[in-house]
């Protein structure tokens, strides 16, 4: 099983300058898939997830185009080959 992650621009350097990262392994949930990403790109983890294990407030994760906040969060089911996009929210100023 493999998953394709899109890394947000400001974190690309922490993913060995890859905008897209393909990881292999078994994942039932988004959280499982992210764990595979952390293995490949450990420095990305703490920038996306807090020490409470929650997605940071101003980060959005989309699985096959759907924001995981609308479909079960990190526990949402993910399919083999899913495209997972990590994006900063529009918040800022």
């Amino acid at each position: 099983m493999s998953y394709v992650f899109t890394i947000p621009g400001p974190l690309v350097e922490l993913a060995n300058n890859r905008r897209e990262v393909r990881v292999s392994g078994r994942a039932q949930t988004v959280n499982d898939a992210l764990s595979l990403l952390w293995r490949e790109c450990p420095a990305v983890r703490d920038r996306v997830i807090t020490e409470r294990g929650e997605v940071r407030q101003h980060i959005n994760i989309f699985v096959d185009g759907e924001n995981i906040r609308d479909c079960g969060g990190l526990a949402a089911h993910t399919r083999e080959g899913a495209e997972i996009v990590i994006l900063p929210a529009v918040s800022g100023g």
Binding site: P8, P10, L11, L14, P42, A43, R45, D46, R47, V48, T50, E51, R52, E54, R56, H58, I59, P88, A89, S91, G92
Partner: protein, 360 residues
Amino acid sequence: MPKTKNVSPKRGETLLLVGTMKGAFIFRAKRHAWEMGGPYFPGSSVYAMAYDGKRIWAGPSSMHFGALLRSSDDFGKSWTNPEEANIKFPAKTDAALKNIWQIVVGEDGTMYCGVEPAALFVSNDTGITWKLNENLWNHPQRPKWVPGGGGLCLHTILLDPEERKRIRVAVSTAGMYVTEDGGKSWRPSNKGVRAEFLPDKYPEFGQCVHKVVQSKQQPDRMFLQNHWGLYRSDDRGESWKDVANGVPSDFGFAMAIHPEDADTAWIVPLEADMFRCTPEGKLRVYRTRNGGKKWQAMTKGLPQEDAYECVVRDAMHADARGVYFGTRSGKLFASNNEGKSWKTVIDGLPPVVCMKSAVV
């Protein structure tokens, strides 16, 4: 992203470390001007910076990607970017770091960070690993601490110049706490400091302390700028006496103490908590020369018309060479004659939230 400038200070030169809501800047004092380095961490707020004699420390907090402690050994040309967040709450606390508010390096090399949510972290290996001070975190009064306008933050850390195990911290809004055994036990220490916003005006804890400073020469002497209230202590913070004599308001945030003269301190009064701007549209630094018996306005070189400025709690600093402060409107001022006159360092930075001076 903006193009970053760098500075290469020489030994003996003065540096200003300036944290803003949109990044950090480093100013190097040249003979007749200031040279600017930055912006570093563009887009991140930087509420805490420090220089330990070799290394610059900063605590940038990205709205998106969280807060980290980072350091530079080459005056900002390069910064560490730790793979793992170096300041983290243990899982059992169910808390997550929001912001780094204060970085202090002790003479023995021990490092301290005050953070939001209000907590103290300590490092004994020059900032590589950090540990939560659980005794303060588990203090029985902590559940009653409440956030102020800037969040529930531990914003001030004072290491006693003579007694290594005595550390004083200030939390908004909880007041001051002191340990005399190196952090094993903590007690509130707010005697004489009022809480205008509570039914009991002089509670044991719960005051909204905005800044506390301590004399290095005479550690018994301290000054405190409160959310309403300007105080002096002559017993190392055990009790406080109101010294709001001759100030237009006893509300304010910023405060600095003279590095050698314990009777001299500077503040920037603000009109009120409901209008956090300099009174009468005049940007005035007030200085005392006699331990707060009288405060005098220092205005030369500062705008005295339509200047509705705000100087926040960590945006003022004094050293042997000067007094420095930055405003929320992005102006930096410096005085090399203890406040008698001021020169503009720069006008146009993002809102300034941190100012530290250092000699390289």
